[in-house]
Amino acid sequence: MIGRFDAKVPPGPLAQKWRNHRDHSRLVSPNNRRKFEIIVVGSGLAGGSAAATLGELGYRVKCFCFQDSARRAHSIAAQGGINAAKNYQNDGDSVYRLFHDTIKGGDFRSREANVYRLAETSNNIIDQCVAQGVPFAREYGGLLANRSFGGAQVSRTFYARGQTGQQLLLGCYQALCRQIAAGTVQMFPQTEMLDLVIVEGHAKGIVTRSLCSGKIERHAADAVVLATGGYGNVFYLSTNARGCNVTATYRAFKRGALFANPAFTQIHPTCIPVGGEYQSKLTLMSESLRNDGRVWVPKRKEDRNKAPGEIPETDRDYYLERKYPSYGNLSPRDISSRAAKEVCDEGRGVGPGGRGVYLDFADAIKRLGEHTIRERYGNLFEVYEKITGEDAYKVPMRIYPAVHYTMGGLWVDYDLMSNVPGLFVIGEANFSDHGANRLGASALMQGLVDGYFVLPNTLPNYLAGQMGKRPSPDSPEFRESEKDVRARIEKLLNVKGTRSVDSFHRELGLLLWDKCGMSRHEKGLREALKKIPELREQFWHEVRVPGDGDDFNQSLERAGRVADFLEFAELMCIDALERDESCGAHFREEHQTPEGEALRNDENHAAVFAWEFQGDGKPPILHREPLNFETVHLTQRSYK
């Protein structure tokens, strides 16, 4: 293995670890910072904030994104809000409570020290964003407003209408623009990272392709930061943007970085169902709808094609209220998602294809009046009508779960550095903070904490020993890597088959959704592990990638990403099979309580599963990082 597999959690009491660590980390003095070049790949909340902050500190930064502008990174689509332990509502919140909620929400599969630091730093993020001019919602007295969110008993979520991700990202994009103007950050939009270059065991650069001109370039640096988001699009249909991909992190994995917990993928219960074969993405409907909507399907499958109004009350099954009487329609994300799948598997699902359940507002409208419902959810009802053409004030909405977020990612230590020295991974791209399930409004928090406050404090600890060690981009390792990248592009273009890239991606997505989606079992995973290599084989024989490599070529872009998904999918299923327990979003049907809840196996699996690449066609090696809980007490979740 390259480097060390050691979490390097600092000693001392939990609440003092981060301070102690900073007190004893090495630093780079201001006049030396400009001698270091840092590569940041990705310009979302994590990458954008990291690039801007490192630029401001005086490092020379190169920031890459595949979008045409840094402002379009997928962080922009986050709706709900961002958590912080400010306790502005005087309702008993604290850093410890945010830490505890996050650990518990993650079903005890994350590292205590990292999560505590996240909770501790959350307050600085709100201060920072307000200073940048993020227009958070306010009360009449001019103070910041908060709202409550799932998985917590306090109101700690800050928000900017339903566009919190957009406003936070624009804050960090503007900070980035300021550094670009100041000359500390050089921006490379429409540029995709296609390989990581490792020189003498350290990450020292990347090879990129310009999506406009097709030009391949080598970039050397003193450290490489990956902030390239999650891999939810391996399922083809997800709430992610079309361009989101696993390429950067998977290429790093193939160069020796460990990939942790790839099986941990979050399914969001309230999305608009799939409408047809050519649907390109799924749209999230805010979870808040479940406050007033009642979820049901017909009791008998013969009724599933009837209009909802023709099904009398006695023939409806309000299954969440029936199964979870105390939480009812507000049961947590994973539980609600699985319950929807179950009733659809029984053949009682509604809408085209039978993969949908009703979310009915009729009772709420009767009780509160249409006006109140319009006030609360008007914009969501409009989005729903735009997509489906149906008026949810008159007929119930149809919803179905969809892939939303990936908790797994490249393995990192306490400094957010992977086992490969000099390779740092931040935001959704790493595995660090959310365990087996992420709580609402915590993704934005993690991205910004990593970029504004953690990385700028941990990167110097590595850089301090690296002065003058930046290799030339003409060194043999870079040339070799460029050769590999070119060969792969040639290979893709020369298959000259008959099937489109998307057709393979769709097929892979359906397979994974079926075998490694909301619930998994050994038999299904073994089937998937047999089928994925076959599909990959077909891809390399039958795919058609028109055009050529040195031009604007969207088919080629997608082909490269799908080729990586076809390999990565296998890793995901291997991990899901190896984790022979249920925890959070990872539900193995073999392991459930009599009530159908996830049943953990703390004795054997309270660990991070980190996988090491061994070569094409060879099974990866598993490394386990045991999770030691010194502060929290492990409990079984129950929502009855």
Binding site: R71, A131, G133, G275
Partner: protein, 251 residues
């Protein structure tokens, strides 16, 4: 549903482009406009021709990547909304639909329906920010902002940066884009220390990028997917005049 599409094809900025006719058949009314193009592209690829290049990413109207002019209207007929939120049920069966890129002098064409909008980034780089170093921010609630001002700032900040305003404007003006950012930051007390230099610099870069001036046709407001009000342009003009007078008076 069936449609006749007339789509702008142009291999790159140097070669000439033209409208090419394509027929699409059996499209479900619940297909989005971009999915309809995906379907067309799928048939082009399997038939061995190069697919039509067009931009899109989030496909839910927030990232601002998609940029098509449909029958002469940026983002098509279903306002307010980006073209990724447009569905085929909004068209008549058998309709002929013309699809072109955003046409603005300051957005050079890259390929087919894809244009280069980096000029908008350069306007923001000129001053569309508040200088706030990470680590130096005061406690968030120490800055009180009346709800009215915060709401107004949010309305301006909702801009998705797609550039439809400039594409719709007969003068190719990016005033609505620039006004939204200047307004957002000047409604907030945090934005005041850099208020004058910000507007002067942003307007000067906007002009240097070749965007036209505003002559109050309000086409920008009509096509804006984020419903940014043209009244922010008046705010921009006031901010500019104020800053120019102060600058002129030597302050």
């Amino acid at each position: 549903m069936n449609f006749l599409l007339r789509i702008w094809r142009q291999p790159n900025a140097k070669l000439r482009g033209k409208l090419v006719d394509y027929e699409v058949r059996d499209i479900s009314p619940n297909t989005s406009f971009l999915e309809m193009l995906d379907i067309l592209n799928e048939t082009l690829v399997t038939g061995g021709t190069e697919p039509i290049a067009f931009d899109s990413d989030c496909r839910e109207g927030i990232c601002g990547t998609c940029s098509l002019t449909i029958n002469g209207e940026p983002h098509g007929p279903d306002h307010p909304g980006a073209v990724c939120e447009l569905y085929m049920r909004k068209f008549r069966d058998g309709a002929t639909i013309t699809v072109e890129p955003f046409r603005v002098g300051s957005f050079p064409l890259l390929k087919d329906l894809v244009v280069d909008r980096r000029a908008l980034d350069r306007i923001v780089q000129a001053g569309g920010f508040i200088s706030a170093r990470a680590g130096s921010a005061p406690e968030a609630n120490s800055i009180l902002i009346p709800k009215y001002d915060a709401d107004l700032a949010m309305e301006a900040a909702a801009c998705i940066g797609c550039g439809a305003c400039a594409a719709a404007c007969p003068n190719g003006s990016a005033m609505l884009f620039t006004a939204a950012k200047v307004s957002h930051l000047s409604f907030l007390p945090q934005g005041h220390p850099e208020r004058e230099s910000r507007v002067l610099r942003m307007v000067s870069v906007m002009d240097a990028e070749g965007f036209g001036s505003c002559t109050n046709t309000y086409e920008c407001e009509a096509v804006c997917p984020a419903e940014i009000s043209a009244s922010f342009i008046a705010k921009l003009n006031r901010e500019y005049a104020r800053a120019a007078v102060q600058r002129g008076a030597g302050e």
